[in-house]
């Protein structure tokens, strides 16, 4: 039986209490997208600035929600800020892969997730390590949607900022 300590790791609580990149960006020029979790009412707003080289120069996170959705979005913002759009896309794939194990089981569609990519993709940014802390969420299936909310919203924002051609 998974315990609360699997879910509420210290690093998660830290991001929850002190969310990174919390705020708004002026939009436009920033792209702004909103994501809802219809089940619990959680809401994440992602603002990104992408420059002509496809670099995510800035990101800000708004909205409200539970510790998991907020900390996951916070970690995400730290992990993609200053990175390229393709990198962010791969990271989203990798993260959803991490989360898809149970989702697949209960009928969600995990097939799109790129299970091949490790979360430790080459990057010096230690923030990636933090993401591993969210692994425990998989043991609490209903919370997976909390953890992926910000990521799905970011994916939408990326598609808008830099459509796949």
């Amino acid at each position: 039986m998974p315990g609360l300590e699997d879910l509420y790791r210290e690093i998660i609580l830290d991001h929850y209490r002190s969310p990174r990149n919390r705020g708004e960006l002026e939009s436009p020029p920033a792209v702004k997208t909103e994501g809802f979790n219809p089940l619990c009412g959680d809401e994440i707003i992602v603002y990104i600035d992408v420059d002509d080289d496809g670099l995510i120069t800035d990101i800000a996170i708004g909205g409200q929600g539970c510790s998991i959705s907020q900390s996951s979005a916070s970690m995400m913002s730290a992990a993609v800020k200053g990175q390229t759009v393709p990198y962010a896309r791969r990271l989203i794939g990798a993260f959803k892969g991490l989360m898809s194990i149970h989702e697949g089981e209960i009928g969600g569609d995990g097939s799109e997730a790129d299970m091949g990519i490790e979360l430790s993709i080459d990057s010096g940014d230690t923030k990636l390590g933090d993401l591993e802390a969210l692994k425990g969420v998989v043991k609490f299936p209903v919370r997976i949607k909390c953890a992926t909310l910000g990521w799905n919203t970011l994916a939408q924002a990326l598609d808008e900022a830099s459509p796949i051609t």
């Binding site: 609360l4 929850y16 619990c40 009412g41 959680d42 539970c66 919370r143």
Partner: protein, 409 residues
């Protein structure tokens, strides 16, 4: 004196454990648990007389038909309907509300008309009106909710002016507020409007009398009143049903079908297209028997006492850390308590409680407009029923402190 411990023992789910702890079910506003007798009534139906109804002349088909029509009569009596032909079975309250919107509303609403609802409605009493309004062009007007959890009726006459329907919940599924239906019915009728009452939260918990209420429509759902999922009820006055066009088309609801068209069956069958949920009707009838044996006044008394105990206990134990929404007077409300606890997100509250086997719901409770008015994105909700007792509340109050421990800033 009702033996509430014996009642609790009738519910097999409550003998289960969750996460190693005995199950404490505090989510009856979402769906209720079922006494063994209701479960057995359905099994027994399938084991002995299962058949399609209204169509067969053989023995078990007759018995199955008697079973569903007997259930219809039981439902009618439970809400003091003048006739059982005024009782339409649907799959849930949501379908019943859609039936009212699409069939009655489709025939009666157009540009220049208005429907009045309230800010405390469940999505099931909002979205069907949004859908129809965007098609028919009528206006949707909203009764506000005050800080004390009651409806703001100060501008009721204004809102009802020119309205054709007031569609409103008898009891809020978030705040527990009991609305003054009789007064609202009089006001609606004075303005020439009809009143549809969403009794989904009311009928399971308080004695219901559609005639005394002055209702034109009453909607409720089997699974919240000890009955099975898959069955809901629309009651409406016969002359209203008679005048309404059909809703879904198919078998049962027709008198004749040709290549050119069709004629409809009598009410209520006109509104029951296809094979109905006979086993579920049997289960609902068994649930009504069970509630009647306790007596709805006893049910209400139990819940008022338990609600008072919960309000008192949570406040005593947690003081300013807890904000409980809705009317503060137990007599003015049902046993539904929405609260926000110590800046801990409701989803996290529910998670912590779950570890102790306590089932509460966290979220918007399908009432997003209301939560926006309350200024909270989500709440935790405790909702009580006949199988709950003070020990459930004590464990809840106790376990909440653990949430505090984890999330203290």
């Amino acid at each position: 004196m009702t033996d509430w411990a014996a009642i609790k023992a009738d519910f097999p789910v409550l003998k289960q454990t969750a996460n190693g702890a005995p199950l404490v079910y505090l989510d009856s506003g979402n769906t209720s648990q079922k006494p063994q007798r209701v479960i057995d009534a359905m099994s027994n139906y399938y084991e002995t007389i299962n058949a399609n109804v209204h169509r067969g002349s053989y023995d078990i088909a007759v018995k199955a038909t008697d079973a569903i029509e007997g259930a219809r009569q039981k439902v009618a009596a439970f809400i003091n309907a003048p006739s059982s032909i005024e009782v339409v079975f649907t799959k849930n309250a949501t379908e019943a509300l859609n039936l009212v919107a699409r069939s009655w509303g489709g025939a009666n609403l157009g540009e220049g008309d208005a429907v009045v609802i309230s800010e405390m409605e469940h999505h099931a009493n909002i979205v069907p009106w949004h859908m129809l309004a965007s098609e028919k062009g009528f206006e949707l007007r909203w009764i506000s909710v005050k800080d004390d959890g009651h409806l703001d009726l100060s501008n009721l006459d204004e809102l009802l002016d020119g309205a054709k329907l007031l569609s409103i919940t008898a009891m809020s599924n978030v705040l527990g507020t009991l609305n003054p239906i009789h007064r609202l019915a009089e006001a609606a009728h004075a303005h020439g409007a009809l009143i549809a009452v969403d009794g989904s939260q009311y009928v399971p918990h308080l004695a219901t009398d559609v005639q005394a209420m002055g209702a034109d429509f009453l909607i409720f759902t089997g699974h919240k009143m000890l009955g099975p999922m898959g069955i809901g009820v629309l009651w409406a006055r016969e002359e209203i049903l008679e005048a309404m066009p059909p809703f879904l088309g198919g078998g049962e609801m027709i008198l004749n079908v040709t290549k050119e068209g069709f004629t409809t069956n009598e009410v209520p069958w006109k509104f029951e297209a296809g094979t109905p949920m006979v086993a579920e009707a049997v289960g609902l009838a068994a649930a009504i028997d069970y509630l009647n044996e306790i007596g709805m006044d006893e049910v209400r008394k139990h819940e008022v006492e338990l609600t008072a105990y919960a309000l008192r206990t949570l406040k005593e134990r947690h003081g300013d850390k807890i904000t409980i929404h809705g009317p503060s007077e137990p007599a003015e409300r049902g046993g539904v308590l929405s609260f926000v606890y110590d800046q801990v997100h409701p989803h996290d509250v529910a998670q912590v409680l779950d570890q102790k086997g306590i089932c509460v719901r966290a979220g918007h409770h399908c009432a997003k407009p209301l939560l926006r008015t309350l200024g909270v994105p989500a709440t935790s909700r405790v909702s009580l029923y006949i199988y709950n007792d003070e020990s459930d509340i004590d464990l809840l109050a106790e376990t909440l402190t653990e949430a505090s421990d984890i999330f203290s800033f």
